[in-house]
Symmetry: C2
DNA sequence: AAGTGGTCTAGACCACTAA
DNA sequence: TAGTGGTCTAGACCACTTC
């Protein structure tokens, strides 16, 4: 069973056959994790095909996360079966807020604060650091109905956004802070951490939101992290419990079967 | 400026250069969305390269979601810039529960119910349907401390899991229901919807969880959906607000720059 | 019938790694 | 130095869509 070159099944490409054969052998445990995978030359000889075809098969295995190829060195086995991930995927950070553009942010307080113990713990920074704090109420633009109380903290290097946001924005409270920061400074958002907890509604916020003090509320904390791993913005939002729900759809990633993106039926003309 | 074949910059491959050139032209709006992209043959002529090289470039553009290729038909433009997604990715559903394996589920009630109006609305099914309901308390295995009150609903076709779970599992309450269903029937989990809301702790559950009635609590609903789009399990969990937090890290997907998976430094001995 | 993208071959050179 | 994977060429056939 070395050189198998049977009558090709119709409609199945050669490289797909090779890929599936190898993937099957991996699943059987023929190549232990961490060991070296056969070289391209060996596979060419074994399957009696050109190198391009073998490479196409290996590309598939690599995409599945089964092997890893190192130029000059060789190919090593990463896993024996294709891990199936579940992913939650959003196209832009704007969709983190289900309320789209029809909201308005009204600033109540704005100023640089020096973090005291409790606040530092809340936003996971060090006590004594200087952060810009912007606190206010987010409302539905049309009806003025309050949505949530939000406090935004911006790290010291970016405190200057304050000016840019006041001047540049068409109307204040429209563009999110992180957007202004990314636009103004040379920062990229690499990661957003989102944390949701249930708390009792504080009396002062309750009054503004028109909710009962002590009623169940959602505290949402978002931490924005740049490509160097540094936090540059943290936001805390307090929602009345009966007006907020967080929903995420985790979708299973495509199975081992190589399916080309058949997403769209050519929207031309 | 038709046929550009300049001195190749060192360390930059030809196909990468072609890819980036085309991607730049797309960004400039040279090829409108929905229009036809140049043919492989045209690109070969323009860049003076072999077809394989052009195809490698196009493969990159396709992976970025900029173009879509149809055999026999041609290539159409999907977008002018590479959308950068944010994703939350988990390797297995088990990690949806941060409490790993060290918990135990103690069933309190178990039986088939006919959905009344309110319950049907809660789990988004139709009133009058028959579902298996399993209700109980999840505890920390070692200390017996209660974690949450959980009600699991299983659609009629899979009610039989009940038997399998009692007999097969090593100790009852260990394997999650969805796992038992997937193992027993020919079902695949295609999607999990997770919804989190804040509610006031009901008195009866409060007693079991050792929380104050009316205190803030988290209601988590999970809906398991199979590959045909049918719900087959819904679970409702009630956590005391001070003992639950939901955290998700949304990570930005790799940028346009083609970076090979450099994840792992070859773990071979 | 002409043109498209998908597959495949046979060969070549390169930069790199490992012995 | 030998071997590896990465790139690239020139040519070929196919199934398919479009005209």
């Amino acid at each position: 069973m070395q050189n198998q070159k049977p009558g090709r099944r119709k409609g199945v490409t050669l490289y797909a056959e090779i890929r599936d054969t190898l993937s099957g052998e991996l699943a059987e445990g023929r190549y232990p994790v961490g060991s070296r995978f056969p070289t391209e030359q060996e596979l060419c000889a074994r399957f009696g095909t050109g190198r391009h075809t073998v490479r196409e098969a290996l590309r598939g295995l690599e995409e599945m996360g089964l092997i890893s190829r190192q130029p000059g060195s060789g190919t090593v086995v990463l896993a024996q079966t294709h891990p199936r991930f579940f992913t939650y995927r959003i196209e832009s950070l704007a969709s983190l807020s289900q309320y789209a553009a029809e909201t308005r942010f009204d600033t109540c307080h704005e100023g640089v604060v020096i973090l005291h113990e409790r606040l530092a713990e809340m936003i996971r920074a060090k006590p004594g650091e200087r952060w810009l704090r912007i606190a206010g109420l987010r409302r539905i633009a049309s009806s003025n109905a309050p949505i949530c109380w939000t406090e935004i903290f911006i790290a010291e290097p970016y405190i200057g956004v304050r000016e840019h946001m006041r001047t540049s924005a068409k109307s204040p409270g429209q563009a999110p802070c992180y957007q202004a920061i990314v636009a103004t400074y040379d920062v990229r958002i690499a990661e957003v951490e989102r944390r949701i907890t249930a708390v009792a509604m504080p009396a002062d916020v309750a009054a503004m939101l028109g909710a009962a003090p002590g009623s169940p509320a959602i505290l949402e904390r978002r931490t924005y992290i740049d490509s160097r791993g540094e936090m540059f913005e943290v936001s805390l939002s307090l929602h009345a419990g009966d007006s907020f729900s967080y929903t995420a759809r985790l979708v299973s990633e495509p199975h081992a079967t190589h399916n080309k993106a058949r997403l769209n039926n050519a929207p031309h003309s």
